[in-house]
């Protein structure tokens, strides 16, 4: 028997995945949640293709901890690969049971088309609803034979995401939820990571209009009010009388980042190839880095909590409702099954944001009243207290033979944590937990091990190289909490690898495309690279150096996910502008072609913003990013032309939300070097960094 997908093995009851009502309504449930990536559309298409029904005839129920399959985090571009494979097999097994029931009912072999089981050559047929009473879906997938799979079809051309019409009109997001009697809460958080609340004038705040309750538990403080604007006003008032004390001895901004400029020697070896080095005639080394990135979701993090008789009902936009429930149970000192968490979409989520933190905030504030409470984070807290993308430094060294082939490859990474999600470490990683009168300490170490730690993601190049060594110097959490942000280490690692490949090509006197292909033994990687180069009009002899340049970047995300390559063109006047991105992707068989392109291109645009513009800072006064003004992101005026070719593939389907980030960053670095004749190795590649690189080259 074929091995079942792991998510089906751990959630084997078919009725967790699919329900059929006698009126013919079919409901499917996935533990993978909508983060703005369009996964709901993909799940509907997968289920519809296996049930042979119109996707519009299916309902996708919101994920919850009561009924939906527990599928961990919606992360790592694994929702189609793992969640989709489990969904496909689960509904195909359900379909097989219905087919058996149809044959029993009709007394003859049946065919299935448009949701109808019919006996060929007759007008006798039954639908799913007609058989609902006959078919027991409370059976285990472990006991079912593996059914025929109908597969992905043709990528569903013309299929529109069913969630968008509502999102482009009225109430649609968690922030728009309005439960009967609902109150609004907000939390008072410090403006520097090293401050802890001592107290504030609680009586004055409690007397403000609309304030229902002031909540204090240790250094955690918040208000509950009739309206959100009342809660905001109350928090402003509380802040004016707040007293803070300094805790710990956190380093200053410059001290904390010295390792970015000169990392410590100690490092753990993650990979070391055996063998003797080939004869090396040229040796090269370079260092690359990126600073902290702000998650900067468009909407405020939000949760709605409601306590009744010691039980907690929670609405959340968390990426992992089951792990969140577990952590909440510990933080609130109640049983896990006393919590039901339901997922409701929030604004676009690109990794571990504050969705989990605000869930604990809401639970703590709602415990003080007997009505549902919605908590929204302020923009200031969103920019400062949401987990950041980790700061990283990547040192590379390699040798070249007389024939211009790479003889060895040495990589040393230093990075703050990429994995600090609640439930992924040995402590309690919900922000308020550490502030409580009886605190729960945050994790000191991650449960995640190589290759899932994050910092080493894509540190092993896609190329066939001898004598590789990868070492990691894992830095502790600093003043800015860092955790999983789209692509994790792959953004900086691929930026470094692809930049260094161009530097090695130059040292070997080779064309960057030819040099890559000469070192590439993976035909799928070579195919995306050639497709992107051809779409972008790659010319080995194209002159650079006049402020106009082009560059290439390629990777296979995590070395196990989707392949993506980009050819980027830049123009540099005052600052770097990405003019165009010609990309090619191979994500295996395609479930939803337009959804795939949307994800790949969205990732590419975000990577342009990260690579050219974004870096979080703090000063001796505290957080330096408190508003969008403090943290410019790529806008409409600077949007590149972007074209994506989807390569045909018969391989299993793969997620694609993260595959473009690294290659686009690498291609930008290479295009900048081609345009200027000097290389910027630290992201973001701002005007100042470009100037510094030019000064250093003089």
């Amino acid at each position: 028997m074929t091995e079942l997908p792991s998510n089906l093995k751990s959630n084997p009851r078919l009725d967790r995945w699919i329900d059929v009502a006698p009126d013919g309504t079919i409901t499917i449930r996935s533990g993978k949640v909508e983060l703005g990536q369009g996964i709901g559309a993909a799940m509907l298409l997968i289920a519809a293709s296996e049930l042979r029904v119109d996707p519009a005839a299916l309902t996708l129920a919101p994920a919850d901890t009561a009924r939906a399959p527990a599928e961990g985090f919606t992360a790592g571009s694994l929702s189609v690969e793992h969640g989709g494979a489990a969904m496909r097999l689960a509904v195909a097994m359900a379909r097989a049971l219905f087919m058996q029931a149809a044959e029993a009912a009709l007394g003859a072999p049946v065919e299935l088309e448009n949701g109808l089981f019919s006996v060929p050559g007759t007008n006798r047929s039954v639908g799913y609803g007609d058989l609902a009473a006959e078919v027991d879906l409370s059976v285990s997938a472990l006991d079912q034979p593996i059914p025929v799979l109908f597969g992905e079809g043709d990528g569903a051309p013309g299929f529109r995401r069913p969630d968008l019409p509502a999102k482009l009109s009225g109430a649609a997001f968690i922030q728009d939820l309005r439960l009967p009697g609902m109150l609004f809460g907000r939390v008072l958080r410090p403006e520097a990571p090293w401050l802890r609340l001592d107290g504030f004038d609680e009586a004055a705040v409690a007397a403000l209009p609309g304030v229902v309750r002031v909540v204090r538990d240790g250094a955690f403080a918040g208000v509950v009010a009739e309206r959100d604007d009342d809660a905001r006003a109350a928090i402003e008032k509380a802040r004016r009388s707040a007293r803070w004390s300094r805790i710990g001895t956190l380093p200053t901004c410059d001290e904390a980042q010295t390792w970015l400029d000169a990392p410590a020697e100690e490092a753990e070896t993650l990979l070391e190839d055996a063998g003797e080095p080939a004869e090396t005639v040229t040796r090269l080394s370079s260092s690359y880095a990126r600073g902290f990135l702000v998650h900067a979701a468009m909407g405020p993090s939000c949760a709605v909590a409601h306590w009744t008789d010691g039980r907690l009902d929670l609405h959340t936009h968390s990426q992992g409702i089951h792990p969140l429930r577990k952590q909440l149970a510990t933080a609130l000192r109640i049983a896990e099954d006393a919590i039901n968490a339901v997922h409701v979409p929030g604004a676009g989520c690109y990794g571990h944001n504050a969705a989990d933190d605000v869930a604990l905030d809401a639970a703590l504030l709602a415990r003080a009243v007997d009505r549902p409470v919605m908590v929204l984070w302020s923009r200031e807290d969103e920019m400062s207290w949401s987990p950041h993308g980790a700061a990283m430094r990547v040192d590379l060294a390699a040798g070249l033979s007389a024939e211009g082939r790479i003889t060895h490859w040495d990589c040393r990474i230093a990075s703050t944590p990429h994995v600090a999600r609640p439930g992924s470490g040995n402590g309690l990683d919900l922000l308020a937990a550490r502030d409580l009168e009886t605190p729960h300490p945050p994790s000191t170490q991650s449960n995640f091990k190589v290759p899932d730690r994050g910092a080493d993601r894509n540190s092993v190049p896609i190329y066939a190289l001898p004598q590789r060594r990868v070492r990691l110097n894992q830095r502790p959490q600093g003043p800015l909490r860092s955790s999983a942000l789209r692509a994790l280490g792959a953004h900086a690692n691929v930026f470094a690898v692809e930049s260094f490949m161009d530097e090695l090509a130059a040292a070997a006197g080779a064309d960057p495309l030819a040099f890559r292909l000469a070192h590439c033994e993976d035909p799928r990687a070579a195919a995306v690279l050639k497709a992107a180069a051809s779409a972008g009009g790659w010319d080995p002899d194209e002159p650079g150096g006049e402020g106009i340049g082009r560059g290439l970047g390629v990777a296979r995300y995590k070395n196990s996910g989707a392949y993506y390559a980009a050819m980027v063109r830049v123009e540099i006047e005052e600052s770097v502008r990405v003019v165009s991105i010609h990309g090619a992707v191979d994500a295996g068989r395609v479930v939803h072609r337009d959804g795939l392109i949307n994800q790949v291109e969205g990732g590419a645009v975000q990577a342009v913003s990260w690579t050219l513009m974004e870096e979080a800072r703090w000063t001796d006064e505290g957080f330096a990013v408190r508003a969008w003004e403090d943290y410019p992101v790529l806008g409409f005026r600077d949007m590149p032309e972007i074209v994506t070719e989807v390569l045909r593939s018969d391989a299993p389907p793969l997620g694609a939300g993260e595959c473009s980030a690294g290659p686009v960053a690498g291609a930008i670095g290479n295009a900048v070097a081609h345009a200027l004749g000097v290389r910027a190795r630290r992201m973001p590649i701002t005007r100042e960094r470009v100037m510094a690189a030019m000064d250093a080259a003089l």
Binding site: L35, G36, Q37, G38, R160, R161, D163, L164, P165, K167, L168, S169, G170, A171, A172, F173, Q175, D176, R178, P209, R227, D228, D229, R232, A296, A297, M298, G299, P300, P345, G346, A347, G348, Y350, L376, S378, R379, D594, N598, Q599, E601, G602, G603, A604, V605, Q606, S609, A627, W628, E629, V633, L634, G635, F636, R637, D638, M639, P640, E641, I642
Partner: protein, 157 residues
């Protein structure tokens, strides 16, 4: 009674005459969402930058998160949930191009685009400048939105 106490305000929202009793400095966004239940106007940064909360005030696109109620007394507000035929065309073009990922920023953007179209703006770069100043999108759905806008500009030329 202090000047800050709640008092009734009359305004026209999505073509209907409404009376709202609230404090004069209440942000219009909060009135729309929490008094009138018009939740399609999104709560975003509340700092007047991201543009999620954009509506039409007497036909002009404005952000509502910092706009006090007293300043809109007797005026006409149209939201993304209103009946404007231009807005309906904009929405259809956005859906046609699937010009969204999470969709959180899109309602505000559609409001600015429809106001500009109603004002007779047909120049792509003028539209782009306005969007750049007043709206953010974090998902990188901009290229699709620009395609939807090109479609609208072609249709309106």
């Amino acid at each position: 009674m202090s000047m800050d106490d709640p008092r009734p305000y009359d305004l026209t929202v999505d073509g209907r005459a409404v009376r709202v009793t609230a404090r004069p400095d209440t942000p219009v966004l909060s009135v729309l969402r929490d008094d009138l239940g018009l939740l399609g106007t999104r709560t975003g940064c509340l700092q007047g930058r991201c543009g999620s909360c954009t509506v039409h005030l007497d036909g002009k696109a404005v952000q509502t998160c910092s706009l006090p109620l007293w300043s809109v007394e007797g005026r006409r507000i149209d939201t993304v949930e209103g009946p404007s035929p231009t807005l309906a065309r904009v929405r259809e073009a956005f859906l046609e191009e699937q010009a969204a990922q999470c969709g959180y920023c899109v309602n505000g953007i559609m409001m600015t685009v429809s106001a500009l179209l109603d004002e007779g703006v047909r120049d792509r770069s003028e539209m782009l400048e306005t969007l750049d100043e007043r709206h953010l999108c974090r998902c990188g759905a901009h290229p699709r939105m620009l395609r939807a806008i090109d479609r609208l500009l072609e249709g309106a030329a």
